[in-house]
């Protein structure tokens, strides 16, 4: 994911469209630094008026260092809780979810060879949402990650079985089946909410459906980061396989990729990753769809480059967007899913415009 993991810049110049080419290693390095800086800076933002030196001091204290290193005073337990129990886990969860969704989107776009593919298109998010909403309304909140995993896998199986029922698993059939499954699970979710939400509980579910990181505490960090490390990291190394898929199923077979088994494996991994992310953040749209494209516009189409850069860009993107969600209308909160689209679409349009002008 850092400079060392990227291929040498020589290759980068030889392949890819005629956009301005910056060596991949540089991009990886720059994005890694920006990610670290983003975490350090955004954790100082919030409705509570705590000075940056005190915030960093609190963080240092919790990782076993001297809390007065930056000259800040030691915070009261309550204000320390704001930094370490509310802000820090939320920023880290945003980073993990952003990275996970961008990765999932990149993989799905590659294996379905559909630029519109993302966890939503194949119904994974709908399935995860249904599982999550069902356990929340049953009062079994502790099962939420499991239910989201299960929902995503169920939706994936439904999609693949439907797509494979009439013969080979073609990309077009997969996408169409995904749409059908997505609509079906979406309708079931709405039905569950419509019938079971009592009093004002619908508000909670609504903000959850729009995507929100406001409930992100350390357990959420563990779930999202865990999913990212266990499932996302191996996915990040599948770039060569995905590049083979880009040339079509036959070409991929010729290159020695077991097309069907690999597709199943990668899709299952994506489902697990999506389930982990939806479990902690709800359905945050846009990140999985747009960020891989944004990265391709500046770094070219090769997946072994796009994968790690998308993960980094997704993490940075969601950290800042969520910081906006929790501070823009302070002390009110905005569901982060609204902001990802409102901010992401114009940014993407700008990138698109720029890339066109350059080529």
């Amino acid at each position: 994911m850092t400079a060392t993991a990227a291929p040498p810049p020589r290759t980068a110049r030889r392949v890819g469209p005629a956009v301005r080419r910056v060596p991949t290693a540089v991009w990886g390095g720059v994005l890694s630094v920006v990610l670290l800086l983003s975490i350090v800076v955004t954790v100082t933002f919030g409705p509570a008026d705590i000075r940056p030196a005190e915030v960093w001091g609190s963080v240092l204290g919790h990782v076993g260092l001297d809390p007065t290193l930056f000259g800040g005073e030691v915070l009261s337990p309550l204000r320390d809780g704001i930094v370490w129990e509310l802000r820090m886990p939320r920023v880290l969860t945003a980073a993990a979810v952003g990275a996970g969704l961008a990765l999932a989107g990149t993989v799905m776009q590659a294996i379905t060879r559909n630029p519109l593919a993302d966890p939503y298109l194949l119904g994974l998010s709908s399935g995860a949402s249904l599982g999550a909403v069902a356990v929340i309304l049953l009062g079994l909140g502790v099962l939420l990650p499991v239910a989201a995993f299960a929902g995503a896998i169920a939706a994936l199986l439904a999609t693949l079985l439907l797509a494979g029922a009439s013969g080979t698993l073609t990309p077009t059939r997969t996408v169409l089946a995904g749409l059908a499954v997505s609509s079906f699970f979406g309708a079931l979710t709405s039905l569950v909410i419509f019938w079971s939400a009592t009093g004002d509980t619908y508000r909670e579910i609504l903000s959850w459906l729009l995507g929100s990181l406001s409930g992100a505490r350390w357990p959420a960090v563990a779930i999202a980061l865990g999913a990212l490390l266990i499932v996302g990291l191996p996915l990040m190394l599948t770039g060569r396989t995905l590049d083979a898929f880009a040339f079509g199923d036959q070409a991929a077979s010729a290159l020695g990729v077991g097309v069907d088994s690999t597709r199943w494996l990668l899709l299952t991994a994506t489902a697990l990753l999506t389930g982990g992310m939806v479990a902690v953040s709800g359905s945050i749209g846009f990140v999985g769809l747009i960020l891989p494209h944004a990265v391709r516009l500046v770094a070219g189409p090769r997946n072994r480059i796009v994968l790690p850069l998308s993960a980094l860009a997704g993490a940075i993107f969601l950290i800042w967007i969520d910081t906006g969600a929790r501070t823009l209308f302070d002390p009110r909160e905005l569901p982060v899913g609204i902001l990802t689209a409102v901010v992401g679409a114009p940014v993407f349009a700008l990138l698109l415009f720029r890339a066109r002008r350059i080529s």
């Binding site: 509570a48 704001i82 009093g199 004002d200 909670e204 903000s207 959850w208 406001s214 002390p331």
Partner: protein, 332 residues
């Protein structure tokens, strides 16, 4: 009919300005043609009686006889005025009606907001709702459509979203609504008595001093709290609590735990209902490591108020007095 209802809505928009002027002039939502005075012995209402309600003009040719109430505040208002026999059914109740108001025999038509056809099937002459959103086309029907079909509509003015919304809800607004209901149903004397009783009860409260509070209505990840201009603020003002979310100009608002922890309120008001018990809310506060350290949580300084009493209506005074009693019991 579509063009007619469109015409009606246009007319309602045109009337908004007039409505605002009337509100400003009279300070209450009563009809321009009748001015009920508490001194009058039993002023009979004269029909047709026209009131401005959340920017919609509603004309009553006679006192309504078949009323469908939506949400608890409307049911409780009519019961408190002794009009239980006019209610043909209630929908979307927030909980059981308190025994003191009676009304055990009011049938519950629907647990949620009923659809338009279900409403019309009951042939009410008035649908009286506690939330403006009940009159959406995909809910009980929009007000113009129902009006065209001869069904009057009325929204508790405290719940008006745009036109007719009091800048800051005060007990006088609640009392004005009682008076207006008295005029609509031709029971002005009963309304005047009720207002007098409530005023007297309100005056018995001795407010606390210098205590801040969070009005925790619902939510766990994002707390939904009483903000600065609705019934929660009005009740907190009456008992002397300083609302930590007073800066948000709304009745309720999605809030932020960080802001709650930063404010570290002295007391937490828990809004309780069948679906959101005090235990559940305390559980949320204690399981979140940041809020678990709040003074009010550590010292269990909680006071509770029933959900239905926290929306503008006849139970607000009762909510204030029970809160005052609980605060006294906390001994702060």
């Amino acid at each position: 009919m579509t063009s007619l209802s469109r015409f009606r809505s246009l007319r309602s928009v045109a009337l908004l300005g007039t409505a605002a002027a009337v509100f400003a002039a009279t300070g209450c939502a009563a009809s321009p043609t009748t001015a009920p005075s508490p001194d009058a012995a039993d002023p009979a209402s004269s029909y047709p009686l026209t009131v401005e309600n959340c920017g919609t003009e509603v004309t009553f040719d006679k006192a309504p006889e078949k009323v469908l109430t939506v949400k608890s505040t409307s049911t409780e208002m009519l019961l408190a005025l002794g009009l239980g026999d006019r209610i043909i059914g209630q929908a979307f109740p927030d909980g059981p009606v308190p025994a003191s108001l009676g009304g055990d025999d009011v049938p519950v038509i629907s647990d949620k907001v009923p659809g338009q056809e279900a409403v019309l099937d009951l042939e009410p002459d008035l649908v009286y709702a506690g939330w403006e959103s009940a009159f959406a086309a995909d809910a009980a029907g929009d007000r113009a459509t129902l009006g065209d079909l001869g069904v009057n509509t009325y929204v508790s003015p405290a719940a008006c979203k745009e036109a007719g919304r009091p800048d800051t809800l005060a007990f006088d607004d609640v009392f004005d609504q009682i008076t207006e209901m008295g005029a609509i149903f031709d029971v002005s004397a009963a309304a005047a008595t009720l207002v007098d009783e409530q005023r007297a009860e309100l005056e018995t409260i001795s407010p606390v001093d210098g205590l801040s509070a969070l009005w925790y209505s619902s939510g766990s990840d994002t707390p939904y709290v009483g903000a600065g201009s609705g019934a929660p603020q009005m009740i907190m003002d009456a008992v002397g609590l300083t609302n930590i979310a007073a800066g948000v100009d709304d009745s309720w608002t999605p809030f932020n735990w960080e802001a709650v922890v930063d404010a570290n309120p002295d007391v937490i008001v828990l809004v309780v209902s069948d679906w959101g018990t005090a235990e559940k809310k305390i559980g949320v506060l204690e399981s979140n490591p940041a809020t678990a350290k709040l003074d009010a949580v550590v010292n269990e300084r909680y006071v509770t108020v029933p959900f239905a009493a926290t929306e503008g209506g006849v139970r607000n005074v009762e909510a204030a007095t029970t809160l005052a009693d609980q605060l006294e019991a906390l001994g702060l």
